[in-house]
Amino acid sequence: MNSNNRTRWISLIAVVIILFLIPLFVKSPYWMLVLTLMWIHIIVAESFRYIVTTGEYSFAHVPLMGMGGYASALLAMKLGLSFWLALPLAVLIVALISIVIYYPCLRTTGTFFFFASFAFGEVMRLCWVRFRVPFGGVGGLRDIPRPDAIHIPGLPPVEFTFLSHVPYYYLILVFMLFSLLIMYLLERSRLGAIAAAVRESKTLASFVGIRVWWYEMVIFVIASAFAALGGSLYAHYTTLLVPLEFYWGLGIYVCIWAVVGGTGDFMGPIVGTIVFSLAREFLRPIPQLVPMVYGLILAATLAFLPEGLISLPSKILPWIEKGLAKVKER
């Protein structure tokens, strides 16, 4: 292990420890809510980027996240399953749905893929609106059961109630770190290398023996499973699901988070999601400005930092060094 690698590991561990210590310092329930929702959004944005590693932009991703939420909520409400069983089942169901959706979509690429996936997303959203049974129509689902208490021997049981912001924070933080770890390992593995080849040239990839659609399918199903995980956590955290929340606008927001952060780097969507979530909080007094500010950030990033905010340090550092050199000359 070289020193560069070691610094990276140490800073990573430090960040994780800080994330675990945050609830000791942040006492405001409001900010706990903001942070917890941000972890869910990071899962969704990072899994969206996982699709982008193949070069396609899917707008069925956010509706699939909603599908995960609906599946998990309905399993808990209609069948009385516990959250701990409903979540993996919802992930499995969405993985199957994503196979059905992406099978026809994968016959297209580029703009056509975008429109095909967009259409399937709208179909899902309209299903929730039109089929009052079981999806609850425009009003959606309410009173979704919260997770059962976790019993750790020797400690009081960890309850999940309306007031338990801290247990929710830890629950969702752990799920987020787990998802990021899996996606990071996947990207570093052979599957990641294949995704890069497919992104660069599908034709050439097929001529080195890669079954392009098969690998794309594998990647899309994994990404959809993580979106479903985010959706399920969201449903059981907010206990409320409304079709409007998963409309195409959120799909575009997720895309903006990932693109502004930088889809070329694993950390990009994480940075993008954090920046936009915080920007939204500071714009809370004037919410009508949110879309405009988002648009401005997007335009500025695309114009000046096409590789995303994540490339900012590597662009700024040479400037600073130049500036320092000039100051020294004087």
Partner: protein, 261 residues
């Protein structure tokens, strides 16, 4: 000669009303270097695309080692050890030369999924074997000095060579090259000619499409001439060079085949 490796039987390809190839048949035999020439629009690249499964033929069949491979997808052909290079360089632009060639061995690297996920020691060993193999291939085509350059930053000559190197990386038994020699410097042409010969000596059968006839004639055992989607002549380079039909239709005059380039 022995039984053919590749048999093309009565291939016809129409695009709407345009007949790009009409009732074309030929054989490629094990261990030969066969050339395919013809004027622009003769249907050479279309023929390659039909054989390699880009689009199905309107009529006719293609057999490889006796197996009907008509309309097979590219990855199925690579599995049967048919490799191809591209006329307009198709590359993994943002991958380095080394990564590209590692990728080209996709079917032959035994790196398992779980092994690569958790970086197991066994996997590390297999990766090392792949890396050694990649360096060997890079040395073979003379690209080892460019190993860490991104494909998009290579010079045109090296890009063409990389395209060829990646076709070699798929370990083909039949290598189909689409204009590997055009628009290259004389030194590069000689280098690639030598590579094609060496590949043949190692047991690879080669089918080359080429515009640069002076470069093609000295390496080919047999040449087929295509015009307006039909085969108008077939024979040794010497016979083709003297064939009056070919000269009239295409060459515009007798050519000197003794010169190397």
């Amino acid at each position: 000669m022995s039984t053919p490796l590749l048999e093309v039987r009565n291939i016809t390809k129409r695009f709407g009303g345009l007949t790009a190839i009409s009732r074309l048949s030929f054989d490629i035999y094990l261990g030969e270097i066969a050339g395919l020439i013809g004027p622009n629009g003769a249907g050479k690249t279309t023929l390659f695309n039909v054989i390699t499964g880009f689009y199905p033929p309107t009529e006719g069949k293609v057999f490889y080692k006796g197996e009907d491979i008509t309309g097979f997808k590219p990855h199925q052909l690579v599995k049967r050890r048919i490799g191809r290079s591209f006329q307009l360089t198709a590359l993994f632009d943002n991958l380095s030369v080394f990564q590209s060639v590692v990728m080209s061995q996709h079917l032959h690297t035994e790196v398992g999924f779980w092994g690569s996920l958790f970086h197991t020691p066994g996997n590390r060993q297999k990766e090392k074997a792949t890396e050694a193999k990649t360096m060997e291939i890079l040395k073979f085509t003379g690209m080892e000095t460019q190993r860490d350059v991104l494909a998009k930053n290579l010079s045109h000559g090296y890009q063409k060579t990389l395209n060829f190197t990646m076709a070699i990386g798929t370990e083909p038994e039949l290598l189909m090259l689409d204009e590997p020699l055009c628009a290259l410097s004389p030194e590069r042409v000689t280098a690639i000619q030598n590579l094609i010969r060496t590949a043949r000596d190692k047991g690879v059968t080669v089918l080359v499409i080429e515009h640069n006839m002076k470069a093609l004639f000295p390496i080919c055992d047999r040449i087929m001439v295509l015009d307006a989607g039909m085969k108008i002549a077939e024979g040794t380079p010497k016979e083709i060079g003297e064939n009056s039909k070919v000269i009239e239709a295409y060459l515009g005059g007798a050519i000197d085949v003794s010169d190397g380039r």
